[in-house]
């Protein structure tokens, strides 16, 4: 790194924590940075429907589950996936979204697990009177919370997990935010205690498996592929879908 100093580095440096915002769905943008950085707005609102307020990292999975189960009465809005970089901001962002949409929907559900909030999101959801997904994080509910807990208790604590979203967004969500593009020497500090990259695939795609294996190589980790499908997420969404009447 070049010698610059604090004053020079602070010059022109602007706000660091992007506020969560919603942006209308744009098919072209979704593949790039919408879900990671900006979020996804709900479709046209209709009374009697269910709204899912979800992490952007789950958008494609939820849309796929909704389509395959013909959940035509469920709408989706997403908060930016990169809120995970600041988990303390997730409860406030969820609160704002619930407050914004509450009057327009018969029911709202929050498609986040604890996600590093240390129980704060669960407490906030309880205060708001909305349900959220059980479990500590998406790696757990994709695997199935009970199975994941059993694996952890059996000693699987040195695994670094990637989902479909994270494989696709590896550079934007992991490599660059961790500074590994500019400072490869940080790899040991971030990943030195990990042994294996476990790719939990939600869809079967050999190209993604290869990309995940490449990610493991870049991180200096052994590679393991587990096809989990949607795990507890699909079970949870089915339960929620049944909890409100279908309407057009």
């Amino acid at each position: 790194m070049a010698r610059r100093g604090r004053a020079a580095r602070l010059q022109g440096r602007v706000a660091v924590r992007p506020p969560p915002t919603s942006t209308p769905l744009d098919e072209n943008a979704v593949a790039k940075d919408t879900l990671t950085e900006r979020g996804l707005a709900a479709a046209e609102l209709k009374p009697g429907r269910i709204l899912l307020i979800a992490c952007g990292a789950l958008a494609r999975e939820i849309l796929d589950i909704n389509a395959s189960n013909q959940f035509s009465h469920i709408d989706l809005t997403c908060l930016p996936a990169n809120l995970h970089l600041y988990p303390d901001q997730i409860p406030a962002a969820v609160t704002a979204a619930v407050t914004k949409h509450r009057a327009s929907y018969s029911q709202i559900f929050v498609v986040y697990a604890d996600c590093g909030t240390g129980g704060a999101l669960a407490r906030r959801c309880a205060e708001l009177g909305v349900e959220m997904v059980a479990g500590p994080h998406c790696y757990s509910f994709f695997e199935g919370n009970q199975a994941f807990e059993e694996k952890t208790e059996a000693g699987e604590i040195t695994a670094f997990y990637l989902t479909d979203f994270l494989v696709k967004q590896f550079d934007a969500f992991i490599w660059r935010p961790m500074g590994l593009d500019k400072n490869p020497e940080l790899r040991e500090m971030f990943f030195g205690n990990y042994t294996t990259l476990v790719y939990q695939s939600q869809v079967c795609d050999p190209a993604l498996v290869q990309r995940a294996a490449d990610c493991a190589t870049r991180l200096g980790l052994a590679f393991e592929h587990r096809h989990t499908g949607y795990g507890d997420l699909e079970i949870t969404l089915r339960g929620w879908a049944d909890s409100a009447p279908l309407s057009g």
């Binding site: 610059r4 602070l10 988990p87 590093g116 952890t152 500074g179 940080l186 500090m189 971030f190 205690n193």
Partner: protein
Amino acid sequence: MSEEEDIILAELDDEELVQQMFDDLYDGLREEIEEGVNILLAREWTPYKVLTEALVSGMTIVGADFRDGILFVPEVLLSANAMKGGMAILKPLLAATGAPQVGKMVIGTVKGDIHDIGKNLVSMMMEGAGFDVVDLGINNPVENYIEALERENADILGMSALLTTTMPYMKVVIDTLIEQGKRDDYIILVGGAPLNEEFGKAIGADGYCRDAAVAVEMAKDFVARKHNRMSA
């Protein structure tokens, strides 16, 4: 002192050199920090003075900017790595010159958790503040903590966790100390991304440390109070 032209550290006076070292710490320049430390030592600064006035003060700026969201974890890690380079030179000298020891801390990441970035930062800043730190590493069961606390006759227990699933283990450790009648022998500080003040109180810790700088201040404060109680 922040231009990119070549800066010859040895040509700077003490004040300029320390300011440049603050900038070099901020930029995470390990070799430059090592060079600066050696220059100050050659100018007959005591190791303790180099540590506190150049390294710790510089890292305090880094810590404040991290707290304020100006710096990010990768940048702080680079700074920490630079400080580590300076510390490696100073550590044997500090021991040899009888630098003041504020107290002794046993620290480790709890069972089931392998994340140690925050813990390592705390360890380093605690050492910089004059604490003797015994770092137990990652994935520590309660037995590790208690054995080390007794073996080292420590003042402080520090526990770290990054995962929501592992942070409850801190209570297991504290409850075990209570069961064994040893709880009041130690100051217990906890930290980690998913923790908060409320959690620290709920599990019976003495303090929740939001970051490494808070950990140092809290540790100093608790140790001073403990010494005051003992001398009263």
